[in-house]
């Protein structure tokens, strides 16, 4: 579904963090530490991104004995497109704040 509402700052931060290394699989706790987010904030965001086909998940079975397999995350093609869009919008917002104001009516896919 196409939504016109801009993703929250936290969602944007998660998407951009995942887009830093788009092909790499990332752990949830690692993202929490990197972004300073609580798991209670991060996981609902990851669930929504996955529900909308922006995030793919897999299980890391290569873990020390006695430890459970860990969940891994990375952006899908749509997710990477969203990340590009968000990065551009973030840059544009920064430019607008330092220059004359404008109000482009951007549409955000999915997030």
């Amino acid at each position: 579904m196409t939504r016109s509402r801009r993703p929250s700052a936290q969602t944007t931060a998660v998407v951009l963090a995942l887009a830093e290394k788009p092909t790499a699989w990332r752990y949830g706790y690692e993202l929490c530490q990197q972004l300073g987010l609580k798991p209670g904030s991060l996981y609902p965001i990851l669930v929504r991104l996955a529900d909308r086909g922006l995030l793919e998940t897999t299980w890391d079975t290569d873990v020390p004995a006695g430890r459970p397999p860990r969940h891994l995350y990375r952006l899908t093609g749509s997710g990477r497109a969203l990340a590009t869009e968000l990065a551009a919008a973030t840059a544009a917002t920064a430019t607008r704040r330092s220059g004359p104001k404008g109000s482009p009516n951007e549409r955000w896919q999915g997030a």
Partner: protein
Amino acid sequence: MRWTRRRVQTVTTWVIVVVWVMFYAVALANADPLPPLETAVRQLVVPPLLWVVAARLVLRHWWSGPGSRMSAMDLPGRLLTVAVAALPERRREWGRAMLAELAEVQGRSARWWFALSSVGAMLWLPPAGGWPVLALAAGVVVVSVAVAGPAVGAAVPGLRVFAVSFTGLVGAMVVLAVARLRRPRPRLPVPAPTVLVTSGVAASIAVTVIFLRREPAAAQYLPPAAAVYLAAVLAGCLWVAVAAPRWLGTSRLASHLGAAAAVVFAAWFWLANRTDGTEPPLPLVLLLALVLVSAPVAVFFVPAFAAGRAGQSFRSGLQAAVWTVTAMIPLTYAIWLPEGLRRHAIDGRLLIDGEVVAPVGANLADALAFCLGIFPVLGLTLAVIGAGLGARTTHRAVPNDPS
């Protein structure tokens, strides 16, 4: 303190014994007249003995699965494990993901922080139908509860609290179903037992309405606490029948055995009341004596034993036990009230204690105590023991079975 299986069993045993002794002491202090010594000793010893055996069987089964895993965890791990178990299946992957990450978190405070925050996240995971659908369902439930109280109260004043409680509880189940399921609808895991229990609950409500319409003074035997209890038990039966947890619906044999046993128990109960005071021929008396004495024990013990043996697991027997009790409660309650009215019209006596001349409304209190209290507690205890023995017999018969 590390909770080993032996320690948990010991604590459970002592809790059961101490609670029962205290309860029985209070009951004796208020009893008039006191029961004979032999009866008192039997009542003091037999119930807790059965409960201890049943509780130990349940603990043993639990400890062979999640119990042993949880005993090795710290408190944050246990908290998160319990929360994950409560998640709907389609979201459980995310719960397992959080559990796996918790295993990587070091330090007591960091682990508590991670676990508590994750539990909070589970409460607010987006519902399948979306928040608007959930809000709509919750709104409908609130309106239904607000309407049910005055509407039922006007027609049957004694049922106002029951109507509000029952509507609220069933509504809460609907909201929960909307939040958990992708397409909110009853799963009807086993149609025949589901229909039986649902019909039993409907009949229970209907006979309560009829009883209170015919005997409005009987409302004094349904105080608010009892009305809430009745609503909670009937709503619980409905929940097991329509939206049973996964582990209850996995064995069709167990659920059918349980439902059939409940029908037999209800028939026994009806027969026991109908034969009281009549003079049937001697062969029938002997047959009835055999059936009436053995049926109550057999209908709880046998299906659970058979299901445990056939399913080669304690869980299968437990499923039969839960289904037996779930179907038995509304069926016996739905029989009790009309039979109580009939019996009282004949000689002014109560159904359960034919020697006492009492107001007909007292049948309502008796029905609540026996059908929703004593029968299920004792029946479930016998059934759990049957399930445990059935599963054990299986293991002896198949010594190489790795399970």
